[in-house]
């Protein structure tokens, strides 16, 4: 269960998104919102990437007072990942895998599913946007997360990879009880994913639809 209390995120004094209290239960959830509505900022706050005012906790683990324990449980993949062009996807994923306490077998198994070993040791500068996106998606599944945030997971990747993302989300949810916060401008195929609730980010706040 994700609990958000007295949450406000501002940039240069301008409020982007705020919510007094929000409880998101276990399950797969779809977060909707137009471009610039604050979806990604909300996700980045939940992942502990950007500072904010208020409290965010996952199953009682507070992000600010238990930063390591929280980050072991909450993973995120960004909508538009950006990596230095001279590093390889393997360099990036190896570091994240080690930090998230994932195993080498887990990393290789995920990479194989997305066909990344064919290129992941080449520098990121040679990747297409879809290849970069696959690296970002893999990074979100490493370790033993309890909540995975996938920001626009379906953009820039090919149809086959979209299918793999659906499979992975379903598999992690059903077999490992991992929960998901997903955002997408495209409609998710509901028969493929058991989406529990939808949330709307609008008018500088987030609420259940």
């Amino acid at each position: 269960m994700l609990k958000v209390q007295n949450f406000t995120k501002s940039y240069s004094g301008r409020k982007i998104i705020a919510v007094d209290e929000l409880v998101i239960p276990d399950g797969i959830h779809w977060v909707k919102g137009v471009n610039g509505s604050g979806k990604s900022t909300f996700f980045r706050s939940v992942a502990g990437i950007v500072p904010y005012e208020g409290q965010i906790s996952w199953n009682g683990t507070d992000q600010k007072t238990q930063p390591i324990a929280y980050r072991l449980k909450v993973n995120m993949s960004e909508a538009e990942p950006l990596y230095p062009e001279f590093l390889s996807g393997y360099d990036i994923l190896s570091f994240i895998n080690k930090a998230k306490q994932g195993t080498r077998e887990q990393l290789y198994a995920l990479a194989e599913r997305f066909d990344t070993p064919a290129y992941w040791k080449n520098p990121c500068g040679t990747y297409s946007s879809g290849m970069l996106k696959k690296v970002a998606i893999i990074s979100a599944f490493l370790g033993s997360p309890e909540l995975i945030i996938l920001d626009e997971p379906l953009i820039t990747i090919d149809v086959k990879s979209v299918g793999i993302v659906y499979e992975l989300v379903k598999e992690f949810y059903e077999e490992k009880s991992v929960n998901f916060l997903l955002s997408s401008h495209q409609d998710f195929i509901f028969e493929n994913l058991p989406i529990l609730h939808s949330y709307q980010v609008e008018n500088q706040t987030i609420f259940q639809v």
């Binding site: 980045r44 992942a47 502990g48 990437i49 950007v50 500072p51 600010k64 930063p67 390591i68 324990a69 929280y70 980050r71 072991l72 909450v74 993973n75 995120m76 960004e78 990942p81 950006l82 990596y83 230095p84 001279f86 590093l87 390889s88 393997y90 360099d91 190896s94 570091f95 994240i96 930090a99 998230k100 306490q101 064919a118 040791k121 080449n122 040679t126 990074s139 370790g143």
Partner: protein, 358 residues
Amino acid sequence: MNKILYLTIVREYYRQNAIFIFTVLMFAIGFLRGNEHLAIINEALRSPFTLSCIFLLWILYAVKVTLFTLRFLSQRSSEFLYHIRLFPPAKRIWAFMNLQFSLIQLAFTYAVLMIGKGILEKTWWAALAIALVNVGMVVAGALVYEYRIKRPNSRQDVTRKYLNLTFTTPRFLFYPRYLLTRQTVLLLITKSFTAFVIMGVCYLYPTDDYDIRLISLGCLLAAFSQSVILQHLHFFERMYFDMHKNMPVSSLRWFLNYLLTLAVILLPEAVVLARNLPASLSATDGLIQFFFLLAVTVMLLHYQVFVAGNNETGFQVVFFSGLGLAILIMFKIPAWAFSGVGLVLAYWVLRRRFYEVE
């Protein structure tokens, strides 16, 4: 065929590795004197162990260039090179030998010098061994390329499994690699200046009744000269690695990571200090001075990244804190005390501010 291999692979190799080659040459010419090279060569010609060590270095270099070529051949843009297979085998192998020979020039040039010296010294077996190792590196490289070119589908290619070993870049080397590939001018200018400063104070030291504070002042100036490099580190981290704040990594590990990054960046200063340390100072004095240089740089980094951020007034604070530290040095506060306090302060700043920066 030779021309196309030269224009694609050889030129690209030297373009991408210009800094690596420059660093090797800097070390070989800048830090080792001519008579030291001759001493090494004489020792190698007489001692099979030393000669084997040199062979090992050459072979490692040959592996590096071979892996570069294999990686190059695996890119989609290099697919047209697989047409080489249509040429007769002898012509193909010859072209690959030429390619490998062009790529190992760094080792081969030194080998020529060693063979020449070996002939003069009449150490025939050593000279012959050097020649054979170089021929072996060329032939082995050509055979690997021949094997590779016959298997265009890299996913079925066993060279990928056995030869295309890519070492993972550890996190603390991410930024040094960025500096080497994207900020080479900044790096060279900064390192030239700091080398000049450290050599300057070391040469000045014996000329009058100076004490260790002179070296400390030199190290202080060298540390503050890294300001722009540290500012770029802030940019680099925010640009590419905001996501890393989602990593379950303790403050202490982040601190050690930055400490290692800076120790790597300050390696040229360490070498210059070690090479030019005045004779009246001990190795411990030198170590303490390097530790002081490192500690001040770490303090600066943590202030610039975690406190000042993009705030331009940060540079004024940096400037005046530099002056303050110089005054404290003049009041004979020992460098090791600064270093200890500085590192503790830096860690405290990181612990408090790491997740607050954006």
